[in-house]
Amino acid sequence: MTHLSINALTKRYPGEEKPAIDSLSLEVESGKLVALLGPSGCGKTTTMKMIAGLLEPTSGDILFDNQSILNIAPEKRGAVMVFQNYLLFPYMTIAQNVGYGLKMRKVDQATIDRRVGEMLELVKLPSLGDRRPKELSGGQQQRVALARALIVQPNLLLLDEPLSNLDAHLRFEMRDLIREIQQEMGITTLFVTHDQEEAAVLSDKIALILDGTLQQYDPPMGFYESPKSRAIADFFGGVNFVTGTQDKGRFTSDLGAWSAPRGIEAGSGLATIRPEDIEICEAPGENVVSGNIVSHVYVGTHSRLKVDVGAHQFHVVADAGIIKTYGTGSTVMLHLPAEKIWVLPHAKD
């Protein structure tokens, strides 16, 4: 198990003005799974390649267990990268693909055969060793790629969007499998994704990168309950924002004064609350606003409402059956629980 430290890591591609990744610092504790989350082009693959040694950093340092590894050849780092497009060697069988890393380490064939069998068992593909990569589905190929990486018992597992080429059903299955194996083997793992839900479900901590810089590094809940900026809240599907003034746990806006103890102490602020934290209630009271339902979508397990409150619109996730009580156009009272409101700093314009 390896503790990964990244110090002020920067990569500027030749001829590019803006760095692809700018002064990234990150600590990944040993045995943890951390998601590198961010939109396309934010520098996730670039970061992974630098850790694996496939790309030279412009500046900064990468340490495994407090030892800089920048001068260690990529093939000796033990940081194995699994690519988005699997990249199984087409001219080898599945078993040869999985055994590749051991073969390169000159392990004897009997051991290789045994370990390949174990690995294929682990990724739940026990009987496919003699096939060629072409004869496998995308999900199966991805599992073979995973087995090929795990067989060398890497210090660090780098998964670059391992799920993005799979359909929804396979994605869930793979997600669980990865989590299961990662916890069983206790390998420190960095996992790239641009899907916030995937990141939340899978990881111990999420590093959100927007535009080449690290925005927030926290356990998943932090991004939902206390995002550090509006951009972060936006990325995690935050939609309800109200500007106002914060003072001693009371937030005052054109919708009145609410109890809101979390967030900034005082000053101009932006209050946000997640759609699923808003409760529909029957009577007025503290932190209750009233509005009109303007739209209503039934999603099976729940309903999504849009409610106009004064000049604002709130998105609310409610029980699936709510439509029986409240139809479009009806008036509804919304309770915004004080402990669910998060007040961000907000520059007055």
Binding site: A52, L54, P74, E75, M81, F83, M104, A149
Partner: protein
């Protein structure tokens, strides 16, 4: 769908017909001549005498077998060495570096130059009275032209091989470079991250990936160097002669009876080349089925 196929067949038919007549017609005519059938000189018997004479008669067999050996040797060396050099150069040219475009341009410059020009160039540069020899003489490194190694007109076909390498490295290089660039470097990156060192990556990843393309290019080059005559004609010696040059001698012989031997020899060359192509198709079919 069916109509589309018929339409394509009909459109291609005239071209195919002309090509077939020219190709199979001349092949058939040549084959008949090699069997001794030549009504112009009143020879209408059909037999394999010319083949036997070329291969086994006291008059020709020495020349034939030494020529065949030389031809195989030259074709093999030219193909193998140029492929090896081309892989090396293509691996260098694949990287991005300052002046890459220019380097690739110079590398490709050899492609349109005729073989004949290269052969003559070889004479001017590397023969015992050539430019290099004379420059070394001026520098006092060789005292007489005889001291300079016989790189052209030598019994081992070194000059011929060098000329072919000069030319075919560019051909191989373009093909290998195109394959490498279309593959990208990710497969090698995967191998490296799994612990493969530089040599292991080359042997277990790069080489197998370029192999199918390399094989087809190799067969083309082998067949070409085996069957063409202009370079060995200029750079070769009187004995042994590569088979195509020997065949040409038969045709240039004013005695029309030598025609049959010339044709028999050409048929043998064509046959060997055909066998090679079949071997090649067998190999590619197998590799294609594999991946």
């Amino acid at each position: 769908m069916k109509w589309e196929r018929i339409r394509i067949a009909v459109m291609l038919a005239p071209t195919l017909l002309v090509i077939s007549i020219l190709f199979f017609g001349s092949l058939l005519y040549g084959f008949l001549q090699s069997l001794g059938y030549n009504p112009n000189i009143g020879a209408t018997d059909i037999n394999f005498d010319a083949y036997l004479r070329v291969m086994f008669s006291e008059e020709f067999s020495g020349r034939f077998w030494s020529g065949l050996t030389l031809s195989l040797w030259v074709a093999f060396c030219s193909t193998f060495v140029s492929a090896a050099i081309a892989i090396f150069v293509a691996l260098l040219l694949r990287r991005t570096f300052f002046g890459k475009k220019l380097a690739v341009f110079f590398f490709q410059l050899n492609l349109p130059i005729p073989h004949l020009v290269i052969a003559v160039g070889m004479i001017m540069l590397f023969s015992q009275s050539g430019l290099v020899s004379r420059m070394l003489g001026e520098l006092g490194l060789v005292t007489s032209p005889r001291d300079f190694p016989a790189l052209t007109k030598d019994a081992y076909g070194i000059g011929i091989i060098l000329a072919y390498i000069w030319k075919e490295v560019a051909f191989f290089g373009i093909i290998v470079l195109a394959i490498l660039q279309s593959l990208g470097e990710d497969y090698e990156a995967v191998a490296q991250s799994l612990g493969a060192n530089r040599w292991q990556r080359f042997r277990t990843v790069t080489l197998p990936l370029i192999m199918p393309g390399l094989m087809s290019a190799s067969i083309i080059v082998f067949a070409f160097t085996f069957g063409s005559y202009e370079v060995p004609r200029i750079l070769g010696v009187g004995y042994p002669k590569m088979l195509p040059v020997m065949s040409l001698d038969f045709f240039l012989n004013p005695d029309l009876n030598a025609r049959a031997e010339g044709m028999a020899l050409s048929m043998i060359i064509a046959f060997i080349v055909l066998v090679l192509i079949f071997i090649y198709m067998y190999i590619t079919a197998r590799t294609v089925r594999k991946d």
